[in-house]
Symmetry: C2
Subunit: 208 residues, 2 copies
């Protein structure tokens, strides 16, 4: 059985809980407290030398890190990854957009605020820039969704899962979604997909 090295508040880890649930794949969850450095221990760094959750343990000696790489792995040969070559490439485009232009801004600001981290000089100066860059990412999404139901093609895919993870909790970081009606409608469509689970749902997976 897959074992997910997890953190319930993390949108990146939620992506993996979401696709496993929607594919009906059973898994075990092991929770880490990132605030207490539990992903920086010698033992954890053997699983992911980059010291980040999520990590999907495929077998007791094989570990896969990076949430969007895990999505690609699990989605192969399923309806969550388009079969068409161009659409697959567009899916990858949105996954990299998410990790480069969306997550470092929207997720990081949410983390700083909800975890009540110390406002160092760097965070104080970076906060308004990350807010601005986060809104720019939302604008790119809004424009794309203006005449589309889903990010790629005509079906829900891992591109939607990846972007949903931190967009639907963006308000927790102070991002106002009211100027983004197309995003709001798309969030509702994602949440209505079969076997959707919530980021706070700690009942899924078997806790070890």
């Amino acid at each position: 059985m897959y074992r997910l090295h997890d953190n319930l508040a993390s949108g990146n880890a939620y992506k993996v809980r979401l696709i496993l649930s929607q594919l009906g794949i059973p898994f075990e969850r092991i929770a880490y407290d990132t605030d207490r450095g539990e992903t920086r221990t010698v033992e954890f760094l053997k699983k992911n030398p980059n010291g980040k959750i999520p990590v999907l343990e495929l077998t007791p000696s094989r570990f896969l890190a990076e949430s969007n790489a895990i999505l690609c792995y699990l989605a192969e040969d399923t309806h969550f990854l388009p079969a068409d070559r161009l659409q697959r490439a567009q899916t990858m485009q949105w996954l990299f957009f998410e990790q480069y232009s969306h997550e470092p801004n929207i997720a990081t600001v949410r983390y700083w605020i909800t975890h009540k981290v110390e406002m160092t000089e760097y965070r104080r100066v970076a906060l308004p820039i990350k807010r601005e860059d986060g809104v720019a990412a939302l604008n790119v999404m809004e424009q794309h969704l203006a005449d589309r139901e889903w990010f790629v093609g005509t079906a829900y895919s891992i591109a939607d899962m990846a972007l949903y993870a931190y967009t639907h909790v963006a308000h927790e970081g102070g991002f106002d979604l009211s100027p983004f009606p197309a995003i709001q409608n798309w969030l509702n469509r994602v949440a209505a997909e079969p076997n959707h689970v919530q980021i706070t749902d700690d009942k899924i997976g078997r806790v070890r």
Copy 2:
């Protein structure tokens, strides 16, 4: 013929020039001066609403953005992307590592220094943090390469191309590679691959 919306100094654009050259695929290049806002014009934003190069124009109406998504697209069914499912997932893992943990630190610092950008308060405060995070990314790479020739499996792949792009010019951003002998040996192996081209090589592709 593919048309690459390009910038010669960009490591992200270089990844695309490199794989096209190594696959023997002819292409046209159109250069943009990012310092002068040429990727923020109305015309360019129709190609990539996120306002970044590289963009690969597949046909006159189809554009693919995000350097690592372009690598995935071009590498499909070639020896630059492993056929094995686990190795393909590991390739994706390194591509996302590159865009999240490596590029925003090593490439951004290089850009600030080589383009002599104005040292705003944000950049002054962020610079030492990006240097530290860049060195952390190099440490992850060094550890991985300690007993391996290539990032995934036993062959040169798009994982190596993506990580080579900004690692081999990291010194231009003030990163000292002398504490990283495994990285240095790997850089030499990448540069010795057939049909390798240099980041400064403006003779490849047909300039339009």
